[in-house]
């Protein structure tokens, strides 16, 4: 049998093969505000893993705990319960020196820009450069180029008082980026920006992620910048409700669309299907399904390849070979008959599997395509 995991297919955990150390690893994290009678839980048993170079967008209604989680990761709040590892360091129970050291490796872009009123834009950004001991010449070049890129070239030596809200926000962004942090945490970084500057900011983020391996976690309600996300984390009432790798989900959807029965499904439904799939792993030579067994799962090959063997009474005959993106196991689910073939992994492989009930439900949904369209049109109003 294959080893079935509890990891959802859309988590992206198996994209890209060998796992790199996680930049952020949140386990069973709880957080409370207030004392005694007034103590109120803000975060409930949250788990989250963010890999190096990933851009994560956290969304959710206000009061759902996004900013609380962000500030906990940013060491701006003391971890109370659970485990929180940032850049390889456990924050729960960490001493002040360690916290100060970790802070220097991070760039935090605050919702309130918190610029020093007494310093110019340049000096404000320089406060971050000085802290990490950046060479003044290099720092000067970086500060000037960052501010210029953010459209503040003509405002470099202005004090915050003579800058607009959006300009102040951009100075704060430059301050968060100037020291090339390994992890950038941003709370609504584009909220005060027009579309063009907002785009420039996320492009900068993408460059840092791609070129420097910088990890970026941002809380935002700005749906104009959702496209840069590698992962979208949705929080509701202090819990992570969904944690989806955008790229992986899109790959799964592309694969699923190849399946004729799913061809009519909207992207929305396809994404929901992808969400319900679980990861399975198999070693080389391992049988995934056997001819004659009852069918309970539909498989999609994420990586690797399999042989399809049919026993016609004279022994197993190889009838086909299936590769990445192809699927098997659907016939038994549709016809409610036993498996009509044996599938054996040719190499270590990863599959995404969908349960029988979910599979059938999707087929039902397919019939309600028109209904879904009506819903979509209705919501447009």
């Amino acid at each position: 049998m294959t080893s079935q995991t509890t990891i959802p297919a859309t988590s992206g955990a198996f994209t890209g093969g060998i796992q790199m150390p996680k930049t952020v690893k949140v386990q069973a994290l709880n957080h409370f505000f207030g004392e005694g009678e007034l103590r109120k839980q803000a975060l409930y048993e949250n788990n989250l893993e963010v890999r190096r170079g990933e851009i994560v967008i956290m969304t959710g209604p206000s009061g759902s705990g996004k900013t609380t989680l962000l500030t906990l990761i940013g060491t701006l709040r003391t971890v109370q319960e659970g485990s929180l590892k940032v850049l390889g360091n456990e924050l729960c129970g960490a001493d002040r020196d360690l916290i100060v050291r970790i802070r220097k490796e991070m760039g935090f872009i605050f919702q309130a820009h918190n610029l020093f009123e007494s310093l110019t834009a340049y000096q404000n950004v320089n406060m971050a450069a000085e802290l990490v001991g950046l060479d003044p010449m290099i720092a000067e070049g970086r500060i000037n180029s960052l501010l210029t890129r953010l459209g503040l070239g003509h405002r470099i030596h202005y004090k915050p008082k003579s800058l607009s809200g959006g300009q102040k926000q951009r100075v704060a962004i430059a301050r968060g980026l100037v020291h090339k942090p390994k992890l950038i945490l941003a709370d609504e970084p584009t909220a005060a920006l027009d579309e063009k500057s907002g785009r420039e900011v996320v492009t900068l983020f993408q460059e840092l992620a791609r070129d420097e391996g910088c990890t970026i976690i941002m809380v935002t309600h700005d749906n104009r910048i959702l496209d840069v996300a590698d992962r979208i984390v949705n929080m509701v009432d202090g819990k992570i409700k969904s944690d989806v790798a955008v790229q992986e989900t899109s790959v799964i959807c592309e694969f699923l669309k190849e399946f004729p029965l799913f061809a009519d499904l909207t992207p929305n439904t396809l994404a929901e299907v992808a969400d319900q799939m679980m990861v399975h792993e198999a070693q080389s030579g391992e049988a995934i399904i056997r001819q004659g067994d009852a069918g309970d799962l539909f498989y999609l090959i994420r990586t690797g390849s399999v042989d399809v063997l049919i026993n016609d009474g004279t022994g197993d005959q190889k009838v086909a070979e299936l590769n990445q993106g192809q699927y098997f196991g659907e016939a038994a689910l549709i016809t409610d008959e036993p498996r009509n073939a044996t599938i054996v992994a040719r190499e270590p492989s990863v599959f995404y599997a969908l349960g029988k009930d979910e599979f059938r439900a999707v087929l039902e949904t397919s019939a309600t395509f028109e209904e879904e369209l009506r819903q979509a049109l209705f919501r447009r109003q």
């Binding site: 701006l76 709040r77 605050f110 310093l119 000085e130 301050r175």
Partner: protein
């Protein structure tokens, strides 16, 4: 070069900084005034001693302070003079008498009728000193020179520092135009023959100098054989303690433990009529007496403490408001990874700058107030380098402590709670 954040913060918000500077200045002026008053007391206590030439002092065991000196037999001074180590042993008379402000018209004309005397001014208590004009006791040449004019018991010299209520001709201070003026000192008429400058104090606002006979005329309750002080000058001042021991044995006083220096009961126990002090002992005791035992001294000592507490309260209020206003910015620094050391440095530097900037106008204003108080009340107020340095140190300490107290919140709270 690092960004001078503390300085930038102070310069940037001029209104807030001005309020801070005003608050610090107010506290500093308060402390300056109280220290000035206390300094005035100390000065009162020792300014006459400072002007006298002596290495050892003889005085009555019942001595309280300068103007309550009590007296002892003059023979003790003569006994001391017999010692070979003694260069000079002089008698000095000092007590409070009554002075009537002279008439504003020249005495020579007004003295013609007895009514004219009735028209003279109010009576005031005055420090009256008596010294031998042939061998004056002062260590200032200009006073000694004037003292030689006191050849008659009706002649007096007047301290130019005496207040205007003592009746100088110009209603301001005694000057050359007052020489020759007659007035009444105690029960008798005297004539002003000269001036000297010594300074008065808390005990009395005026002083005059006469010869021993003149002193006894002014203070008739004392005879010429009862002196207030015996001032002994030694050939070698370093022998003071040795001579003191010798004198004790001559006078038959058992040598007592130095620790009981301030005990007034010692004299009663030994039943002697004189005590012997070195110059330093005399100055120390006089200062102690005025600062710690007179109500005035106690009031002003307390005043210094009250001013300190009020000063700390004001400075704390000013600084903690200042820091509270910038809490978001400091929390941001903390969030960026600036350590407690840097934050402390910035806030304390800001506090010290505020203290120094607040100190400069205060010392100028205080100096002016010292002059004003001196003019109005006659209390000698001196801005000594000691007081100036002490207040600067106090101002910086107050600011630093207040800054640290205000920083506690920043140390303890999570940055996220401070934005």
């Amino acid at each position: 070069m690092k960004t001078p954040l503390a300085w930038k913060n102070l310069v940037h918000n001029k209104v807030r900084t001005s309020i801070g500077v005003a608050g610090v200045s107010f506290a500093v002026i308060l402390i300056f005034m109280q220290l000035g008053f206390l300094g005035g007391i100390i000065h009162t206590a020792t300014q006459i001693y400072d002007a006298l030439e002596f290495d050892l002092m003889l005085r009555s065991p019942a001595y309280l302070h300068l103007t309550e000196a009590r007296s002892f037999p003059r023979s003790r001074v003569l006994q001391a003079a017999s010692l070979s180590e003694v260069a000079e042993a002089r008698s000095f008379y000092l007590g409070l008498s009554e002075w009537q402000a002279p008439a504003s018209v020249p005495a020579v004309e007004s003295a013609k009728t007895s009514e004219a005397i009735e028209e003279e001014g109010d009576w005031r208590a005055i420090i009256t000193m008596g010294t031998d004009p042939k061998d004056p006791v002062f260590n200032r040449q200009e006073i000694n020179d004037e003292a030689r004019k006191l050849s008659d018991s009706t002649f007096v010299l007047v301290d130019v520092k005496s207040k205007s209520e003592y009746g100088p001709a110009d209603d301001e201070k005694f000057s050359e135009t007052d020489i020759g003026v007659e007035t009444t000192l105690g029960p008798h008429r005297v004539r002003i023959v000269g001036l000297f400058e010594l300074g008065t104090g808390m005990a009395s606002n005026g002083a005059c100098l006469t010869n021993p006979e003149g002193y006894v005329r002014a203070c008739p309750w004392q005879t010429i054989d009862d002196v207030n002080f015996g001032l002994i000058k030694l050939k070698d001042p370093s022998e003071a303690e040795l001579v003191r021991q010798k004198l004790l044995s001559i006078y038959g006083i058992p040598s007592r433990d130095e620790k009981s220096t301030f005990s007034l009961t010692a004299a009663a126990l030994t039943n002697t009529d004189v005590e012997i002090l070195t110059r330093q002992q005399a100055l120390d005791r006089e200062e102690h007496r005025w600062v710690h035992e007179t109500p005035l001294g106690q009031i002003f000592t307390l005043g210094v403490w009250v001013a300190l507490f009020v000063g700390v309260a004001i400075v704390y209020q000013v600084l903690s408001t200042d820091i509270a206003n910038m809490m978001g910015e400091y929390a941001t620094l903390k969030a960026m990874g600036y350590g407690a050391k840097y934050l402390t440095k910035v806030v304390l530097l800001q506090a010290v700058l505020l203290a120094v900037v607040g100190y400069i106008p205060s010392i100028i204003v205080s100096w002016g107030l010292y002059r004003l108080v001196e003019k109005l009340s006659g209390m000698p107020m001196n801005m000594t380098p000691g007081i100036a340095a002490l207040v600067l140190a106090l101002a910086i300490t107050m600011c630093v402590l207040s800054g640290l107290a205000a920083l506690r919140k920043l140390y303890q709270a999570d940055p996220a709670d401070l934005f």
